[in-house]
Point group: C2
Chain length 181, copies 2
């Protein structure tokens, strides 16, 4: 399944095509999610003349897919995404516990300060946490090159197209002169 | 002080020139070692078509020096060095305690198995640890492009030439499919 086919099937309606790809992608991604990935690519992206640098490893199942243009473009897009957005982690499960606790504390005290009833406070904290995840987790972020989809959607579309399990395994981002984390 | 001057002063004798630069470099490096570094570059190096990737940050004192060809070449050389040799840490102080303990244990039990007297055993362990550091610590390694000098010598020569404090601040190396460390 690629974008052109999806577009044709949806009679050129881009929103419908993205929706189509997302649904197709999620279903396929779930099916492939358990398969082993040991191939792929390590790629880098250097921004602003060496002020920011990113290293990304993405894995797939076969050496063949790991060398395709689609896969190469995907890994490059991830590196650009990380340079631009500085995510905390790849997904919710990998946000460090201490970072999460700190966020929760801040939201709880903000909500309390609003003077609203207890029941509403919980909802406020939940809403703020959800927003935090969508900013801090690479896969939940809007894709910088097309904010109509998330990075997860981009990944799912590649999984659907290649028919392989694909994962963003790890990334690191150095910003010149930043304090140690 | 640059290589040409050193060569001229040493009448074209490369060994003497390197020696000259090393001595000069060490003296200058010690003088500059305490000065603040917040400028510099982040650079990457991708090896073997995306099987190995390295990200390096090196710092200097001024934006001007950080943009020079000499500095750029140095950071690139460090990235290539890390890709080729997979160092454990930048220097002895940054080798993780558990890694060091494990090495010491192995050397101690190897030495014990040799059946030599206690006094000699200590020397054997010391010798093996010293060899370990020269392989595991980036700055103690022979420079891959010129094994007659160490990476520290290369750094000292740049410090001497630029007149600035320069540090290799951090590096990371991803090898496709390696197990997590």
């Amino acid at each position: 399944m690629d974008c052109k086919v999806a577009l044709a099937e949806c009679n050129g309606n881009i929103d419908k095509a993205i929706d189509h790809l997302r649904k197709k992608g999620i279903a396929t991604a779930k099916k492939r999610g358990s398969r082993a990935t040991s191939q792929g690519q390590v790629q880098s992206y250097i921004h602003a003349g060496g002020k920011i640098g990113v290293l990304v490893e993405a894995n797939c199942e076969t050496d063949f897919t790991g060398k395709t243009e689609d896969f190469t473009n995907f890994v490059r897009d991830i590196a650009i995404q990380v340079a631009a957005t500085n995510p905390v982690a790849i997904d919710r499960e990998r946000v460090p516990e201490d970072v999460l606790e700190k966020e929760k504390e801040i939201y709880a005290s903000q909500a309390k300060a609003s003077g609203k009833p207890e029941k509403v406070l919980e909802k406020i904290v939940e809403g703020k946490l959800s927003k935090f995840f969508s900013e801090a987790c690479l896969l939940e972020q809007p894709f910088v090159k097309n904010p109509d989809i998330t990075v997860q959607d981009l990944l799912n579309a590649l999984i659907a197209k290649t028919g392989e399990n694909i994962v963003v395994r790890r990334f690191v981002r150095f910003q010149l002169g930043e304090s140690d984390t």
